[in-house]
Symmetry: D2
Subunit: 416 residues, 4 copies
C-alpha cells in the first residue's frame, strides 16, 4: 500500500490549493528552483509526521523535487486536509492520513510511514521519533538524524537527551528565529482566531478571553485578540513572562480566578491539565473552551466528557451540559483548534518554518559526522538567509552596515 | 407556495444554529419574553428582505412570537444560510431565499414575499421599498411604514424623500447609535476578516491592506487589521474622514496610488466604481480584491470578467488572469465577502441591530399618525434601553448620575 | 493698564515659542495670509478668555492681523504660559493672565478684558459669557455674539438657552467635527499623558489606569494609554458609551469598584464629584489622582484637603496623607493637568480648533441678523475647508467623487 | 574633594524626588531591607559611572546601606539631575556629576570616582571600564570585576574579551531578562517619547516617525508611537528584525528613503552614523531629529553643526538652518533625549535593572574565583527572583506548576 487517504478523487481540488499556497511561499519556491537542479537529497529516504496541509504539501513536494523518497503521516487526528493528501498521493508521495482518523489509525499510519526505512525523520510533536526509539529500534541504524517542528516536541526531545536516550542528532527547527518568532507568534495568533470563528462565529470584541500561556504563541495571540477588541486575561507559571504580560497591558490571574470571569478560554502552553475539571466547574454558563497547543492534554477533556452530556451543535462545536444545567462549549474536542476547525497557519509564515526544515535536512546531512546525539539549533546564517529571501520576495529593502559601522561595532575604543 | 428554499431537510441543523445564536442575543431574548405575552404585533403583516442568517432568523421568530404574520426573502444572492431558511420555513415563516440564487430568482422571491400584502416592510438595502414604489404600487395603501437596516439603503431612501417620492415613513434603523456604532463598526470588522480568511487563509500580518472608506465600517475594519499586524492604507473622498484616518496612524492615499502597493483591497464605501478596471491594471500580480459594502458595484467586476480569464480556485476565490499573465484574485464575485464567505456579523452585535428593528416596528405602529413620509431616526431612549439590557446581560455595572450631578449638568452658574 | 502679566522680559522666549508653534499651524497661517490682506475684522473689538498658550497666542495674533482690537484673559489659574503672555503684550494685545493667579485675580482679569467693550466674545468654559450676563449686562448691547471652545461650556450655554437666558447667539466651536473629533480626542490624549509624566515620571506600562468618561476626550485617552501598555478601566454614566468602551476592549466598572483597583485616576467627564472623598478613602496607598476636564470640580479636592496633610513633592505633585497613614497623590491641584503640568494640546491639533474660532467669528459677523439667541454649529463647509487645508499642508492627497459616483449617491434606482 | 556637583543646596528637593522614586522601586526596597541587616558589601569599594538620576540614586543608597563605600560619576554630560546629586552627596556618597558638564569635566569626574581604588565597577556604556584598562591600569589589581548596564557597553566589552584584553570578569546586567526585556523595551519607549514632548510639545498622532533600530529598544518605541497614532517607519540592518518589524505592521525602509518622508527621526541602534549629513540634506523642511541610543554618535551632529546656522528655540530644541533656507531641528544636541530632556526611564522599570546590579555585585563577589575574564550573564534564578518580588509588590498572583505538570514537562513518553 502506497497511501492511505480519504479519497484520491479529491486530488484536483488539492492541486489547486497547493498551487494557491505556493504563491505565498517564495522561500520554498527559491529553494525548489535550486534543489531541483542540484538534487541534494538524491536517494535520501525521508519519513515525515506532519499536519497534512497545503503548506506541508509544498514542503513535501520540495523534498521530492530535491531527490528524496518521501513518506508522510498526519501528526494529529483532526488536522489533515484530505484534498491535499489526495494530490500528494497522486504525485507519488506516500501519504498516510485522513481527517478524523482514530487514535489507532493514527499509530498505524505512523508505522506505515516508517516502512520506507528512513534516513531522516521530520517530526511535529516527536511522536515519530518516540516510536523509533520505543517500538521500531531496528530502524535506528539507518537514521542519520531528525528535525523537530514544535516547542512541545523540543521539550520532549531535550528530556530524552538529558536522560541519554536520544540515539541520533535532532535539529530543533522550532528554535530557529525565523521559525518561532514568526510561525509561533503570528501564525498561531491568526489561525487560532480563525479556528474559533469558523467553529463559533462568536463576536470577539467585548469578550473576556483567557489566554493560558504567554510564550511566543500566547503573546502573539493575546495581542491579536486585543487588536480585535477582546479584553484579554493571561495565565502563566513563569514569573518573567507573567510580568511581561502585565507590562503589555494584560491582566494576569491564576486560572482559578480567571475561570470565573472568562467568556472564552484558549490554552497554548505545551503543558497538561491547564484547564481542569475544577476550573470548568467554576466557569460561567456558556463559556467556550479550546486548545491551540500541540497535544490534546491541555484541557481535561476526559473529565469533561465523563461529567457532562454532549450535544454536537455543528462541526467542532460541542455543548457539554452539566447535571446542574450549566453548559460549556468545547471546540474541536480539545485538539488544535486552528488545524481542526480552520486551515492551520497561513502559507506565508509556514514558508519560513519549512525553509528551516528543508535547509535543516541539508545541514544534518552535511554535518552528520560532527553532530552529537542531542538537540541542535541551526546556525544564525540560516535565519539570515531565509529572512533575506523573504524580504526580497516582499520587495522590502533595508540597510546594510557600512565598513565603518562594522568596525565601530567590533571596536571598544570609542566612548563618550 | 409558502416558501422557496434549498432543502427543508436542513431544518434540524438550522434549528441548532438558531439556538446557538440566541445565546448571544440577550436583548432579543428579553424582548421575546415580553412580546410573547403582550402580543404587540397581533395581526400585523410584515414583509422582510434580509440576509437570511441565524441572526435574522432569531429576529423573524421574535416578530412571529409577537403576533405578526411574517414573510421574508434574502437581500443578497450569496448570503442565505440554507439550513436557517429551512428551520424558519418549518416554523411557519414564509421564506424565499437560497444561497446562489440568480438575480432573476432574487426578484421573484421579492415579489413572493410581498404577496402577503404587508403592513410593515423590513428592508436591507431598500430593494423591497423600491419595488413597492415602482412595481407594486397597489400595495402602498396597506403599508404603514418601513424599517431600513443599512447605510446604503438610508442614502437611497433619503434621495427618494428629497425628491418627494417616498410614500410612507421609514425608520433608519442604521442611524440608531446602538446599530451603526456597533454593527457597522465592530461587526463589519470581524466578519469581513473572517470572510477573507475562509476564502483565502492568507496571512494578514505583514500585508499591505487597502481599506476603501473610513466611515463606521471602514474605521473599525482598519483598526482590526492593524491589530492583526497588517499595514493599512486608507482611501477616502471625505476630507474630515481622511484626516481622522491620518491621525489614527494610517496612510491615506488616492486609490490610483494605493492600487500599486496593496496586497489586499477591501471596499466598504457604499459607493460604486471604487476599484475600477484601471486600478486593477496597476495592481501587483497576486493582489486580492474583495468587497464588504452592501451592493456588488464597488468593484468593477464586469470589466474584470470581460478582460480576464477566470479560474475558480475554491469557494469564493477566483483567479482572474490578464492577457499579460498577471493575476488578481476576486473574492465572492465582489459581493459582501463577510456574508458570502463567512456567516455575516456575529450574533452578539446583531442582537442590538435587530432590537432596533423590533422596537422600531412598535415605534412605527404607535406613531403612525405623527410620522411624515420621510426618513426618521428612533429616539435616544431606544438606544439607552437596548444598551442597558445588553450591559446587564454581560454583567457590566456602570455609574448613575447623582441628583447633584444632574443638576450641575443642567445649570450654568458654576464656573471657575 | 494695557496688560497684567508676570514679566514683560519673558517676551523674547515667548516670541520663539510662538514661532515654533506657527510651524505646526498651517491652517491658521493660511488664514492669516488671507485676512491680513482682506481685513475682515477691521474695527471689531474681541474679548477672549482662553488658556494663554503658544497656540492661543497664534490665534490672537491672527485676529489682530485681521483688523480686530483684541484683549484676552486666562481661562484657568494654572494654564498661562507667562512667556507667551509677555510676547503678546509686547505686540499690543491686552493680556491679563499669569500662571498661579488667585481666583480673585482671575475674576479681576476677566473684568479687565471686558473693559474694551467687546463686539465678540471668545470663551473657553463660558465664564466670560456668564459674567456679561450676570455682572456686566451693560455690555450686552454692543455684543454681536460669542464663540465657545469646550464641551463643558457648550453644556452650560445650552442650559442658558433652554431657560431663555442667553442674550446673543453663540457658536459652539466645540461641536465642529474638525474641533471635537481631533482636539478633544487626540489632543487631550497626548497632553494629559504629557502632563502626568512631567508631574510624576511614573511608568504607565503595567499600571491600572482608571479613565472617568468615555466621550471624545476619554475614548482618545483610553486608547492612547492602552497603546503605552496601561491596563485601562473606564467609568461612565451613559449606557451607549459604556458599551462602546466594552467593545473597544476596556473593563467598565462603577467608580466605587474602580477606586479599589486603580493605580492612576484621570477624570475627563465635564461633570462634578466624579471622584468623591468616599472613593479616595477606598483607593490603594499611593494612588495618583488627576483631572483633565475643564473645571476643577471633578475631584473632591476640598474634602481631600480637609481630611489630609499635604506635602508638595515637586511642581504639580502633592502627597496627601490621611490620618491612617495612607497617601494619595494629587496632580496640579485637581486643575487641568495637561495645561498646568505640560503645555496643553499640541499646536497641530489646536490649529484646527482655532481655525474654527477664526472662521466662526467671520460667520457670526456675516450672519448676525439671521442667528437666533441660542447655540449654533458652524456649517459642514467650514469643516471641509479646514480639513482640506490641513491635509494639503501635510502633503496628503485623497480621492474625489467622480460625477458618476455623485450621481449614484443621490439616486435611488440602482439596487441589487 | 568628596564631591563635585552643581549646588549642595538642591539636596532637599533631591531628597523628595528620591523618596518619590522609592515608592515605585519595591524590589530595591526589599533588597535594602535585607542588606541593611546582612551587610553583604561591608568594606567593598564601588565606583559607579551612571546617569545620576533619582533611580540610580536609590541604587547608590542601597549599595551604601549594604556596607559599601561608594563613589559615582555621571555617564553622560546632559543626564545628571543636579538635585539628586546634591542629596546623595549630602548622604555621604562621593558624587562627581553636573548637568551640562563639558567632555573634559566628564573625564575628570571619571578619574575622581576611580580615586577610591574600587573593588567593583558599575558601568553604563563601558567608559569606566575602558579607562581603567587604558589609563589607570594600576587600579586593575584591586578590581574584582564589573557590571555593565547597556547593550552598547556589552557590545564594546565583548569586543575587548574577544581580543583577550579584558582584565576581569564583567556581568552583562543588560542581558538579564528582567533588564533588557523591560528597561530597554518599555522604559526606552516611554522616556524617549517623554523627552521629545518636553523638548517640542509636538503632536505625535498623524506624524510619520522614523525609528532607526528594531531591537529591544526600537521595537518597544515603535509600538508605543503607533499606540499614540504615529505612522511608524522602521530602519534596520538585521534581516530577521526587519522582517519582524514588517510582521508587526510597520513599514521598513532604508534610511535613504525614510529620510525623505519622515517628520520625526529617532535613533536607537547602538551604532554610529545612522543619520548622516546626506540623510539630513534629503529631509523635509522642519524635520525633527533626535537620539535615544547610548552615545551621541548615531546622528552626524558634527557635520550638521558645520553646515548649518544654529538657533536655540528653547531647552533641548535647536533649529539648524541650511544655506538653502531649510531647517531641521535637533533635540538635546543628539545626546540621549530621554535623559537630557526628560528624567530617564521611570523608576518602576529601573527597579528591576538595578536589582540586577545589586544582586550582580553579590554574585560577582561570591563567584569571583570561578568567573573567567570575560562577559557573563546572571543565572536565570536571579531573573526569577526579581520578577517574583516585583509581581508580589504589584499584588499580581499567577500559577504554579503542579508536580504532575513538572513531571509531564520533563518526560517524553506522553504523545498523541
Amino acid at each position: 500500500m502506497k497511501y492511505n487517504i480519504k479519497d484520491i478523487k479529491l486530488s484536483a481540488q488539492g492541486y489547486k490549493n497547493l498551487t494557491w499556497a505556493e504563491r505565498e511561499m517564495p522561500v520554498l519556491a527559491a529553494l525548489e528552483k535550486a534543489f531541483t537542479k542540484s538534487q541534494p537529497l538524491k536517494g535520501i529516504r525521508i519519513a515525515a509526521c506532519l499536519h497534512i496541509t497545503k503548506e506541508t504539501g509544498v514542503l513535501l513536494r520540495l523534498l521530492k523535487s530535491a531527490g528524496a523518497v518521501v513518506a508522510a503521516c498526519g501528526s494529529n487526528p483532526l488536522s489533515t486536509q484530505d484534498d491535499i493528501a489526495a494530490s500528494l498521493a497522486k504525485d507519488g508521495i506516500s501519504i498516510f492520513a485522513s481527517k478524523g482518523m482514530t487514535d489507532k489509525e493514527y499509530y498505524e499510519n505512523l508505522l506505515s510511514t516508517l516502512a520506507i526505512k528512513p534516513n531522516v525523520l521530520i517530526d511535529d510533536g516527536a511522536d515519530l521519533i518516540h516510536t523509533v526509539h520505543t517500538k521500531k529500534q531496528d530502524l535506528l541504524k539507518s537514521i542519520i538524524g531528525a528535525m523537530e517542528e514544535t516547542t512541545t516536541g523540543v521539550i520532549r526531545l531535550k528530556a530524552m537527551a538529558r536522560e541519554g536516550r536520544l540515539q541520533f542528532p535532532v535539529i530543533a527547527v522550532n528554535d530557529s528565529q525565523t521559525k518561532h518568532l514568526f510561525d509561533n507568534h503570528y501564525g498561531t495568533a491568526q489561525s487560532t482566531i480563525d479556528g474559533i470563528l469558523r467553529a463559533t462565529n462568536i463576536m470577539l470584541a467585548g469578550k473576556t478571553v483567557v489566554v493560558a500561556g504567554f510564550g511566543n504563541c500566547g503573546s502573539g495571540l493575546a495581542h491579536a485578540l486585543a487588536g480585535l477588541g477582546s479584553q484579554v486575561i493571561v495565565t502563566e507559571v513563569d514569573a518573567v513572562k507573567a510580568l511581561r504580560a502585565t507590562m503589555d497591558g494584560f491582566r494576569v490571574l491564576p486560572m482559578s480566578l480567571a475561570a470565573k470571569v472568562g467568556d472564552i478560554f484558549i490554552t497554548v502552553t505545551g503543558n497538561k491539565d491547564v484547564i481542569t475539571w475544577e476550573h470548568m466547574q467554576s466557569m460561567k454558563d456558556g463559556a467556550i473552551v479550546c486548545n491551540s497547543g500541540h497535544f490534546n492534554v491541555e484541557i481535561a477533556v476526559g473529565a469533561l466528557e465523563k461529567h457532562s452530556k454532549k450535544i454536537t451543535i455543528r462541526n467542532n462545536l460541542a455543548e457539554h451540559t452539566f447535571p446542574n444545567g450549566k453548559s460549556i462549549f468545547l471546540l474541536a474536542e480539545g485538539r488544535l483548534v486552528n488545524l481542526a476547525s480552520a486551515e492551520g497557519h497561513p502559507s506565508a509564515v509556514m514558508d519560513m518554518s519549512f525553509a528551516n526544515q528543508a535547509l535543516g535536512v541539508l545541514y544534518l546531512l552535511e554535518n552528520q559526522k560532527k553532530l552529537s546525539k542531542t538537540v541542535h539549533v541551526l546556525p544564525k546564517e540560516v535565519d539570515e538567509k531565509i529572512a533575506r529571501i523573504k524580504l526580497k520576495s516582499m520587495n522590502i529593502a533595508f540597510d546594510t552596515l557600512t565598513p565603518e559601522q562594522q568596525k565601530y561595532l567590533s571596536s571598544w575604543n570609542e566612548g563618550t
